[in-house]
């Protein structure tokens, strides 16, 4: 997975921290998959893996937004409620007011942007702690959700386009074409790196994984219904926001703010503007997740946007390796973390254990991830206090 760590520097403690941070989540995921498969081999069947993907995209999209706010050292507890509210707006606009699907989606995203702007302005300009602002947001937006849903308490999603988002699959032939395309592209990049003399494993490994992984994943999906369209949408979101974080000024500013806000301000970074922007993006991503969820359930009801969704998304971001302390993390951690959280839920359902066990196991995994994060931060501090500003 791409760049999980943004500051380079010497020191064995730092390297240990880096390893824990970058490989903790993949190793955890591999362990969970291995254990679940040993207990019930059906876990790795194509049908179940396809179901797993369909089950995690909503949480995953929301987790991308959580990663963004965590990067600047803030938190957003309202993402679940905002996702429910946005999805409700889309469903009501489409079903009750007859708006076209794209207009309805735009309306939902606009509501999300508005909610995010409110959070961001309160945090950036009034200097209120984001924990409190977004907790207030969580309560208010949940109320707004009930209000938008009205008396019936549930609104159906019937528009064919909205239904198709989570309900359609790429035909096998097109899927293979896509996979081969991705693999060739990855090989081309690999060759270019190699010729340039850039042969560090960290630079080559992600592309090698893509070259082998794309056709392999496609083979699995094509054993069942084909690649779900939402999987591609989700992957697209990840790539876009990964580029945003790593390659744009906004991304670099965010990481600077998350590492040390005061220093960032002195360096002339427009700290307040970046904060507002990221809260807006986080809420819009939450709405995106809400829409994906609604398209899967074909309805929005009072339990849409529950606190479970918020907890799952934040857990996913942190389990994936994004630091709770700001300045360190990767958008890919949303994918990894969502896979971990989703696999635990899916696997325990397959084993037929109760909801209690599911929460217990997810909690344990989360605690482990936070412990890893804290240890790796501490070792980073010990290794280079001048380079690590905290």
């Amino acid at each position: 997975m791409a760049a999980a760590h943004h500051r380079a520097g010497p020191g064995s403690g730092r390297i240990a921290g880096r390893i824990a941070n970058r490989w903790g989540a993949p190793a955890g995921l591999a362990t969970i998959w291995l254990v679940l498969t040993l207990i019930n081999p059906r876990f790795l069947s194509a049908v179940n893996l396809t179901n797993l993907v369909l089950q995690i995209v909503a949480v995953g999209a929301i987790a991308v937004g959580v990663v963004l706010v965590l990067l600047i050292g803030e938190i957003d507890l309202s993402v679940g409620a905002v996702s429910g509210l946005g999805a409700a707006v889309v469903a009501v606009a489409s079903a009750r007011y007859g708006l076209g699907p794209w207009l309805a989606i735009l309306a939902g995203l606009a509501v999300g942007a508005l909610a995010g702007a409110v959070h961001g302005l309160l945090v950036a300009h009034l200097r209120l702690p984001s924990l409190v602002v977004t907790l207030a947001g969580l309560l208010s937006w949940q109320g707004a959700l009930l209000f938008v849903l009205g008396d019936t308490g549930t609104v159906n999603v019937t528009d064919p386009t909205l239904v198709a988002i989570a309900g359609s699959f790429v035909p096998p032939a097109a899927g293979w074409l896509l996979a081969v395309g991705v693999a060739l592209l990855a090989v081309a990049v690999l060759v270019r790196h190699w010729r340039r003399g850039d042969r560090a494993p960290a630079a080559l490994l992600p592309w090698a994984a893509a070259a082998v992984g794309a056709p392999a994943v496609m083979a699995v999906f094509n054993l069942d219904r084909g690649v779900p369209v939402v999987a591609l949408l989700f992957l697209g979101l990840i790539v876009i926001f990964d580029v945003l974080v790593r390659r744009t000024r906004l991304g670099r500013h965010s990481i600077a703010i998350g590492s040390d806000a005061t220093a960032a301000r002195r360096a002339g970074i427009p700290v307040d503007r970046v904060r507002v922007t990221l809260f807006v993006l986080a809420s819009m991503l939450a709405v995106t997740g809400g829409i994906l969820g609604a398209s899967r359930l074909l309805a929005v009801n009072q339990s849409s946007g529950s606190t479970d969704l918020m907890l799952g998304a934040i857990a996913a971001a942190v389990i994936g390796g994004t630091s709770l302390f700001g300045g360190r993390g990767s958008v890919w951690s949303a994918l990894l973390g969502a896979l971990v959280v989703g696999s635990v839920a899916n696997g325990l359902d397959l084993l037929g254990v109760s909801s209690a066990a599911r929460s217990l196991v997810t909690g344990l995994v989360l605690a482990l991830a936070v412990a890893l994060d804290t240890v790796s931060r501490r070792s980073a501090d010990a290794a280079g206090p001048t380079l690590a500003p905290r």
């Binding site: 069947s45 699995v220 339990s303 359902d349």
Partner: protein, 348 residues
């Protein structure tokens, strides 16, 4: 990460077929109402084990989360369930589950709550309109003359549950024919006892304590909430309260006079019928002849339906209904309530 999994998958040879007997999934909606875990589930498992010892029941409870129920249904189908017996959380969005099942050639039996616009092989439920009528008739008879001066508080079930609308219709028929005044009427989300309690507190605050002469609660769990609200508001004596499901707590409240009545539906019979029909569907691919008594059109075609008959339970009929049927034992019902039991004629 995904690359390694593909290799493991190929090594495992993909989805294995079911070994031995059939697997039948029983998907329950929630845990707040006691009946699902204490009555339906054990009765279903016991009956299935009786008629097919090598069969396996896969039982899930969705905890009132429609998305979670969808995942549980997918897990059951992945696990090789050959029939889904589904009590949907949300009658509308459960259509997705039924269509997914149909795509995997797994027939769906709906349990208690029908789902719409998707294929359903069989539906087993109670005559719900009749339930509402029985509740309302009992309430009107208990309130009697006081109906002239006072008004009723009505607590209906969740709007996401199609049955709630039928209970309500049955009750309304009775209330309208008697010209009853209704001071407050609330559709309680999720059938939640907590929200029923809050609604009742609000009704007491707006209507005033003296004017409430009776409470129509669509089920026992909400009746519990309503009674708690009235007790903490100091209403004495409590006005008559209705219920449904014959929960143990409700039977005990009826003995102590806090609740007027409940409606007993033999969940045991319902769960047994569901297990039998599901097994027949798994074995023969068809519903046995003569089980269904009517048909309901759910938007995707006629669904063969069995409607079981509900029974009213008051203090005087506890012994002849829930005790006689073995739903509750005398020990369970009479713990610390020996004298009340004696008066009601409940004894070993």
């Amino acid at each position: 990460m995904l690359a390694t999994s593909a290799l493991v998958l190929l090594a495992c040879g993909g989805g294995p077929g079911a070994a031995g007997g059939e697997r039948i999934a029983f998907l329950l909606p929630e845990t707040k109402t006691a009946r699902y875990e204490t009555q339906d589930r054990p009765a279903f498992e016991a009956r299935l084990a009786e008629i097919c010892p090598s069969c396996e029941a896969i039982v899930h409870n969705a905890g009132h989360d429609a998305a979670r129920q969808q995942s549980q249904a997918e897990a059951a189908i992945t696990n090789g369930a050959s029939v889904l017996v589904l009590d949907p959380v949300d009658a509308v969005s459960a259509g997705v589950i039924a269509r997914h099942a149909a795509a995997s050639d797994v027939p769906v039996v709906t349990y208690d709550r029908l789902l719409f616009d998707a294929p359903v092989a069989f539906h087993v439920t109670f005559d719900n309109e009749r339930v509402g009528m029985i509740q309302a008739q009992a309430l009107v008879a208990a309130v009697d003359d006081a109906l002239e001066e006072g008004q009723l508080v009505v607590l209906n079930g969740a709007t996401t549950d199609a049955n709630a609308a039928e209970f309500r219709r049955g009750a309304s028929l009775v209330f309208e024919s008697r010209g009853v005044r209704i001071g407050a009427e609330v559709d309680v989300p999720d059938w939640s006892p907590d929200l029923a309690q809050e609604s009742m507190e609000r009704a007491i605050a707006t209507l005033g304590r003296g004017s409430i002469v009776g409470v129509y609660s669509a089920n026992d769990a909400m009746a519990g909430g309503a009674i708690a609200a009235m007790r903490s508001a100091g209403l004495a004596p409590l006005p008559p309260v209705t219920g449904q499901d014959a929960e143990l707590a409700a039977i005990r409240r009826i003995l102590t006079g806090e609740q007027h009545m409940t409606v007993y539906k033999s969940f045991r019979t319902q769960a047994q019928v569901a297990a039998e029909v599901a097994y027949a569907l798994a074995r023969d691919g068809a519903v046995p002849a003569g089980v269904a008594t009517s048909e309901i059109d759910n938007g995707a075609g006629p669904v063969p339906t069995l409607r079981l008959t509900p029974v009213a339970v008051t203090r005087d009929t506890i012994a002849t209904t829930v005790i006689a049927d073995g739903m509750w034992t005398v020990d369970e019902v009479c713990r610390d309530l020996a004298s009340a039991c004696e008066q009601a004629g409940v004894s070993r």
